[in-house]
Amino acid sequence: MTDLSIQIAGHKYANPVWLASGTCAYGRELADYFPLSSLGAIVTKTITLEPRLGHPSPRVFETPSGMLNAIGLQNDGIRDFISNKIKFLGQHRADLIVNIAGKSISEYCQLCEQLTGISDIISAIELNMSCPNVSNGLEFSKNAELAEQLVKMARKSTHLPLIAKLSPNVSNIVEIAQAVEQGGADAISMINTLVGMAVDIETFKPRLSNVTGGLSGPAIKPVALAMVYRTYQQIKIPIIGIGGIMNYKDAIEFMLCGAQAVQVGTANFVNPMASIEILNGMQNWLQEKGYDSPSEIVGKVEA
């Protein structure tokens, strides 16, 4: 039987299928459908220093093969996370990656320090450098110097592995990837959502209260694949592929383009069992093809 386990930044994950930030909340709801510990890891919804209310409705809109969202990072803040939400996740023995965002480098560092205090139950921290739905949200991932600086400072604030989550809304994503590698990131996850918009032609109003939002789902998969592929050629740290993964074939495509692991996002909304089905499909595919480990196919696209 193929051993699905993988190593990222010295940590062993049971398998390369993870849940993407903001698409599984804090695990509680999905635990009704399958044991969270079956997956490689779960990445929490972005957590900020102070609670955030988020944007008013409408926050979402369905588009061809995808959707727009502008949730606005609604969350109850790091204190509530540590005192209330972490307990449930700890009980479920799921590898836990905490996704964080700050308004400044100092906020990111404070978040990293607080999470270090509970590092026995956390496998890594994912830095959301790219949420397009809060003002300034794009800055850290748009500017290579700032991105490097952010990771460098976060690096000093914790011994936990750091995953830098990149935005596709930049002219050259490889440059940003190289900058965060330089800054000391242990891995890169890509991509976050693409900035998008939709308008109601009867009322002339945007479909989202925030006017623009982030596009996700199968519509963005080709964009994400190309970005993973290009980045893989230029960096050494592992890449976690994200963007429109709906089934195991999509996941394998990402791995062939250079992703060590994948995160399943929008697919969870349509089918709460999507990640488990992807995991089983991947296991069977690797087995049938005679691979001993998923890492054997990483970057093996014959371009």
Binding site: G22, T23, C24, A25, R28, E29, L30, D32, Y33, K45, P51, L53, G54, P56, S57, P58, R59, V60, F61, E62, P64, S65, G66, M67, N69, I71, Q74, G217, P218, T266, N268, F269, V270, N271, P272, M273
Partner: protein, 272 residues
Amino acid sequence: MPAVYQLPIVSNIEVRGGAYLLTLEAPEIAHSCAPGNFIQIKINFPGNGLWRRPFSILDTDRNNIRVLYKTLGRGTAALAEFKAGGVLNIIGPLGNCFSNPDNDTTVLLIGGGIGIPPLYYLTKRLTESGFPRQSIHFFNGASDYDSLTYLEETSELGINVYAVTEDGSMGIKGVVTDGARQFLSGVDNSIDPPKKRIFACGPAQMLKAVSKLAAQFNVKGEIAMEALMPCGFGICMGCVIKVADPCSSCHYSFKRVCQDGPIFNASDIIWD
């Protein structure tokens, strides 16, 4: 506990008011659901839509659940094409449910448009459990006689049913809250003090009017809200409404219609 099911379609037929009645064989859901709960149906339709579509449970019997729906857009139009013998992928039961009124309460159900199903289910459960039928008053509103949904079926439950039409083609002329207001104004509040409850479901504007009415007559109201729902089981935060929240620094917060609702206390909702 909700789960994903492949459910056989027992029937899917057009009924009065331009609505369709879908019967699904779903013993697990039929045994565990309650009035107010809904299901998410995966419908493949032209245009590559991803999301499931949410529908309230209309009622149940030993093995089946039923859904009453109107064709509004692409998904519901495609749903109407399904035939008996087919299969649908659904998630359910989802959401919270209406609370049970005490037996000595006067109950007002106020429904418009596609808001009738959860109210019908609640009424049916109440009458089956021995709740006095004469104390149940069901206001069924629509633009005109032809658009009234599930009117006869509701009357068959042996309760007081009031049709309310905007053009006056049947029953009371006006919007459905006008009918409820007339009723509440006619009740002598001194002899029959506050033991009244309102349950409502329908378009947002109607529910807003119901909330006002409930506040005006000092009646506790529970309303079933609607929202666009990418997931339906609480993981996306996409379906929120604004509700009063004493714990929040600005005295409100955004709650998920799918998981914290769809039933909310009328007085908690902040209508902008």
